[in-house]
Symmetry: C2
Subunit: 198 residues, 2 copies
């Protein structure tokens, strides 16, 4: 990479870092380009070289986060033998990534934007599709119909993010391990007995 | 009720009806007071007698809807003998209420606002608390810890609204009955075996 390219990359990352901190403190809605320019200590023109609006930076941050979640969840799932282990590892990897102090604040203050932008985003769809495919590996899982794998993946993934958000609204108190165990346990039992009772 | 009171009530309802139709078509974000005043055929001053902003009307609509959901779900739950029947009836009553063409459009175009306003709202919290209490009636349910009833109620309720929204993003195709059965089945099995495996 040339010095010029390095410089470019460094500036872009400075903008992203400053924006993440602003979004976490005050929410996307209350963050202006001026705020970002001031905090990242760059010129206003430089901002426009990389992004058009604060929402563009927000989408970039969210996309990077979702790719990271995808990657970490995929890593955590390698070589697991049972549906319980598979789900526990997936939930735990997700919770580990989003439970840092920064990420918690970012989610708490931008929850509706995160939800609305994530819907239909490629990275979330690929998370759903991966889970849907992977679940078929486990003999405990007994859905006859492909549709049910998708519905199951959707509620499993959304339940994890629901509990994470509710935890930080102080609706209850639980450790990451406890939440991952609770979710894996409810869903794996839900799966195990599905065909027997349907 | 006096003629004057009737007149007042009728005007308020006209504002709400016109607003609901506008929110459904174009979303809260793109609806101005001028739009509402024009569509409901009242004076601008009259609008301010009842509400301050379009968001106020939106919150009122959402509150009425959530109260209605609460009421209908409660009605549907009367006299049921098993946890499956109880959950199926609850999910079905919710899906019946939100699956009208108007409501589907309203949810599709305002999903992030609905989520963010509903979080921590009294009517949603009371839905969660009711489910949490009612579940204890069923001997199949085996949580030792009160916290797990709450976590379970949170994911059961959010999964229903997640599936409903994903259905209308065409992520899959299913009838209301099929969705209610799927949800009740996964969750009741998840509950039944919880203590055995935890």
């Amino acid at each position: 990479m040339s010095r010029r390219e390095l410089n470019k990359k460094e500036k872009r990352e400075r903008i992203i870092k400053a924006s993440l901190s602003l979004f976490s403190e005050q929410g996307l809605e209350n963050t202006s380009i001026s705020d970002i320019v001031e905090k990242s200590d760059i010129g206003r023109g430089t901002f426009y070289n990389y992004f058009k609006t604060p929402k563009d930076v927000f989408c970039e941050i969210l996309d990077e986060l979702n790719c990271k979640i995808n990657f970490e969840v995929k890593q955590a799932q390698v070589g697991l033998k049972t549906a319980y282990e598979f789900l526990y590892a997936s939930f735990k990897a997700y919770l580990d990534l989003v439970s840092t102090e920064d990420m918690m604040l970012f989610h708490k203050n931008n929850q509706n934007q995160i939800r609305s932008i994530s819907y239909g985003s490629e990275s979330i769809l690929s998370l759903v599709l991966n889970m849907q495919e992977d679940l078929k590996r486990f003999p405990e899982v007994a859905f006859a119909d492909k549709k049910y794998f998708k519905m199951f993946s959707l509620i499993a993934i959304s339940s994890a993010s629901e509990l994470f958000v509710c935890l930080h609204h102080n609706y209850f108190d639980a450790s990451k391990e406890e939440m991952a165990h609770f979710l894996a346990n409810v869903f794996v039992n839900g799966l195990k007995n599905y065909s027997a009772s349907s």
